[in-house]
């Protein structure tokens, strides 16, 4: 019987932590891009767009991320495309993230006074110019703290990818438990590593928020 030291466990968990970080980044960047697209579509005022994006957001916020992962996993395979846990997890988490980010950002855009839009209109700026030069630069300032805060949700969300066989921190924890029969130690370490990853982000988001509120309006 091999004896596993705490360092053996921690070392292997740290190796798996990479994939948690990579998957989080894929979901966050991908979700940000899709979310931005959805936001612009919504702001464009084209008929039906608002309801469509609203429904999309409701759908992803009103169903479990776990189900979304399963649907991506089995759904992509339906089209005869060879899927891997990588593809399914990236797609599901990207869509999930985009729904939340687009909703957060919509709130930030709504906080921009209407007069700004009207002023931009009176300068005969096109829709794209209005967004690029007037609205978005102001909205970004308010949007940064909640967006950073949401990153924590994304990192925690990647833990569910373990269920469809994506080997990240949680899955590695399960595998190491099966090899070492030390669930208490292993899952404590897993939780600790997530905490080490997420807590600084949480603190940073809180600091950003405080800074934003201190600034005179």
């Amino acid at each position: 019987m091999v004896d596993f030291s705490l360092w053996d466990i921690l070392r292997n968990l740290l190796l798996a932590l990479r994939w948690t970080v990579v998957l989080s980044l894929i979901a966050f960047v991908g979700g940000g891009l899709v979310g931005l697209g959805l936001l612009v579509a919504r702001l464009s005022g084209r008929r039906g767009m608002d309801a469509l994006v609203g429904g999309y957001v409701q759908l992803f916020q009103g169903t479990p991320l776990l189900m979304q992962l399963f649907l991506a996993y089995f759904g992509i395979a339906l089209f005869g495309i060879q899927t891997s846990a990588w593809v399914a997890a990236s797609v599901a988490l990207t869509l999930y993230t985009s729904a939340f980010l687009t909703e957060i950002w919509r709130g930030c855009v709504a906080a921009i006074p209407k007069g700004q839009w009207e002023a931009a209109d009176s300068l005969a700026l096109s829709f794209g110019e209005k967004l690029r030069h007037v609205v978005l630069p102001q909205a970004v300032k308010i949007a940064v703290p909640p967006t950073v805060g949401f990153l924590v949700q994304v990192v925690k969300g990647t833990a569910l990818a373990s269920v469809i066989g994506f080997i990240e921190l949680t899955k590695a924890g399960t595998m190491i438990t099966n090899a070492t029969f030390k669930p208490f130690v292993v899952y404590s370490c897993v939780a600790l590593l997530y905490f080490v990853l997420c807590f600084p982000i949480s603190l940073y988001a809180k600091t950003l928020e405080r800074k934003l509120h201190v600034r005179p309006a």
Binding site: Q58, L59, G62, T63, P64, L65, L66, M67, Q68, F70, L71, F74, G75, L78, F79, G80, V152, K156, G157, A159, L160, S162, V163, T170, G173, T174, T177, K182, P183, F184, V185, V186, Y187, S188, V190, A191, Y194, F195, C198, F199, S202
Partner: protein, 220 residues
């Protein structure tokens, strides 16, 4: 290429889905009641308790909020037995959900408590209300009213999160879907149906809580 769906094969298993839904509802109901109650107590500790107690609760809240629910669940179900605490899947699920919700509820309710104008507490003191009376009758009801929408959203998030409990064989909705697809290999259909049922539950729960809040929780 043609894709054929067979929802009949899934829907014919409706008793399984119904039982799963009932489990999801029961888990959510118990953990919402206990989780929010615990959140109120912890929020009180964080704004009125002794400094060391504040630190303990603060650490608890941050630990829970910065780790994934699935890891908390696995820790309770797989990890605790090694430390001598043996739980069945259902109990472990309830405990994990209560622990998870209570941490978020603490932060949410505390924000409401912090927003209480100082004059109200002074007015309560001038009416000779005890500290406990001041908290339960003057501070808490308007605080809950203020943060009710956030509490409702968090409860829904916990309900949706309970899908993970199927992974330790708690017989809730996602477990039922998994069981059905393992019997008839209609995985996509089974999960579509389960997902739509979750969406239905989420919308119903939001309505229920928005209705119940003003009537039973923060009054008048």
């Amino acid at each position: 290429m043609r894709i054929e769906f067979d929802f009949g094969a899934v829907l014919s298993q409706w008793p399984l889905l119904a039982t799963g839904m009932l489990w999801t509802i029961a888990l959510t109901a118990i953990s919402a009641l206990l989780g929010v109650a615990l959140g109120v107590v912890f929020a009180w500790v964080r704004s009125h308790g002794a400094p060391w107690l504040k630190w303990v609760v603060g650490t608890y809240v941050e630990l829970i909020r910065n780790t994934p629910f699935i890891v908390q669940l696995f820790f309770i179900y797989f990890g605790l037995p090694a430390a001598g605490v043996k739980l069945n899947a259902e109990t472990a699920s309830v405990i994990a959900m209560v622990v998870n919700l209570s941490a978020y509820a603490t932060e949410i309710i505390r924000a409401g408590i912090d927003a209480t104008p100082k004059g109200q507490i002074e007015a309560a003191a001038s009416l000779a209300l005890s500290r406990m009376q001041t908290f339960t009758r003057v501070v808490l009801p308007p605080a809950l009213k203020k943060v009710w929408p956030a509490l409702v959203s968090q409860t829904i998030i916990v309900m949706l999160g309970s899908a993970v409990c199927g992974q330790i064989s708690t017989p809730e909705l996602s477990y039922a879907a998994n069981l059905i697809q393992s019997r008839n290999f209609r995985a996509f259909e089974a999960f579509i149906v389960a997902t739509l049922l979750y969406l239905l539950l989420a919308m119903a729960l939001r309505r229920l809580l928005n209705w119940a809040g003003p009537r039973f929780i923060y009054g008048r």
